[in-house]
């Protein structure tokens, strides 16, 4: 009996290692939020332009997504005439490298320039962090 329990525990822990994604599909469209950048009220806009399959799998057979995303900032201060302008389109994918191993994530995406994006189980964007003028800007939704 003891042996059987050990075997079952070993089996269940082996199963726990298997990494299987749900394949959550990111929703297309755009989102806006208000943030302050360089003391200027700024609109942060994220637009998901195209979602494709990455046609590549991780070690567990999970296929990744490839997401064409535009990130933009638009703000100005009428008193100082300072402006915040930024617009960049880049590819994000959810094939992340974890401990030197490729692993597809359901909710985390990485952009070409190191930007990150987090989505929820419904495919809605929750947070995008990207480099702007030497610091990281985070837009939450």
């Amino acid at each position: 009996m003891k042996k059987l329990i050990i075997a079952l525990v070993a089996l269940s822990s082996m199963t726990a290692f298997a990494h299987e994604i749900k394949g959550t599909l990111i929703l297309k469209g755009s989102l806006k939020s208000k943030i302050v950048v360089n003391n200027i009220k700024t609109t942060c806009k994220i637009k998901i332009e195209k979602v494709k399959n990455l046609l590549e799998e991780d070690a567990y057979g999970n296929p990744g997504y490839d997401v064409k995303t535009n990130i933009s900032l638009d703000g100005s201060d009428s008193k100082t005439s300072k402006k915040v302008k930024y617009s960049k389109t880049q590819q994000f994918n959810n094939m992340l490298t974890v401990n030197g191993q490729k692993k597809v994530s359901d909710f985390d995406y990485l952009g070409e320039d190191g930007s990150t994006m987090k989505i929820d189980p419904n495919g809605r964007i929750k947070k995008v962090t990207f480099p702007f003028e030497g610091k990281n800007i985070t837009c939450s939704f």
Binding site: G23, V51, N53, L55, G61, N62, P63
Partner: protein, 302 residues
């Protein structure tokens, strides 16, 4: 005898002796059908799937029809091409053939029937079969499952080759994001020294490995497509994979037949005439080449 006639008789005799081959078979008469193309009656033999021909007359038709469903001994001669002419046909004498030992009806499910794919010794043999597949080169004319079915049937009935079918199923995720109109594709598959080769003459010029076949349709060599045994494995995992492969016996016609097997327990290791009747229309000249594969009922459309 005039010299011309004598020469003609000699030439005919030589030709006949050169190509004619007499043989006999024990079989179940599965279908009898009057040819619309020639003055013959077509007899579909259920043991080997071959269509045997005999002369047309009301009396002969009545006799042939009386044999439908019966186990018979059929003596025949193969004449030019692969046309088999009936010399004699009679019900088998009790004890003459044991249906438990000899597989006499491949149009009926038989739980003892084994459908392991033929394992060839040389690639040349398989390439030869592939090169002789009927292929109109017209994908718009027919669907893959119909072409695959006739190729499988031809291999079995003409060459005694048992093939498998390999299905690739694309998930909703793949179809939606790649804007791909098909949800499955299928082709016959055989083995050569233990390695599986797909015979998909619509898309390839030679037999190819499963990997090559899969990569072609996935447009990537980085997608694995898990091989699954149950239709539900595909059906219930539409978002975390892009594709699945399923290997089934050659008799499975459509994906729905696999679904029926896995959900309702309806097994297939036999041919269904209505399906062959439908599938034969995939090819130009089907009405001549496959005239005997006709149940007499209207062709089903899928």
């Amino acid at each position: 005898m005039p010299k011309k006639l004598l020469l003609s008789v000699c030439a005919s005799a030589l030709l006949f002796n050169g190509v004619a081959k007499a043989d006999e078979i024990f079989t179940t008469v599965f279908n009898v059908f009057e040819s619309k193309k020639s003055e013959t009656i077509l007899v579909l033999s259920a043991a080997d799937g071959r269509v045997y021909k005999t002369f047309k007359s009301e009396e002969n038709l009545k006799r042939m029809k009386s044999l439908v469903g019966q186990i018979v001994r059929l003596d025949y001669t193969v004449v030019q091409g692969d046309e088999a002419r009936i010399n004699a046909i009679r019900p088998a004498v009790p004890g003459e053939v044991d249906p438990k030992v000899v597989d006499l009806n491949h149009f009926r499910y038989n739980e003892l029937r084994l459908v392991a794919p033929t394992d060839f010794q040389s690639m040349e043999e398989v390439e030869n079969i592939f090169d002789n597949f009927l292929n109109d080169g017209d994908k718009g004319r027919s669907e893959c499952f119909k072409r695959a079915h006739i190729w499988s049937y031809d291999m079995w009935s003409k060459l005694n080759v048992t093939s498998e079918k390999i299905f690739i199923f694309w998930t909703k995720r793949f179809s939606l994001l790649e804007d791909y109109e098909w949800w499955f594709h299928v082709a016959p598959m055989v083995k050569v020294n233990g390695t599986e080769y797909v015979l998909d003459s619509t898309f390839f010029k030679k037999p190819v490995t499963v990997e090559t076949w899969r990569n072609y349709f996935m447009k990537s060599d980085k997608i694995t497509c898990p091989i699954v045994d149950k239709y539900q494995d595909y059906e219930s995992h539409q978002w975390n994979r892009l594709c699945y492969l399923m290997k089934v016996p050659m008799h499975y016609f459509r994906p729905y037949d696999i679904e029926d097997r896995d959900k309702k327990g309806i097994e297939r290791n036999h041919w269904v005439l209505d399906e062959l009747q439908d599938a034969r229309r995939s090819f130009w000249g089907w009405d001549k080449k496959y005239e005997g594969l006709d149940s007499g009922k209207p062709t089903k459309k899928h």
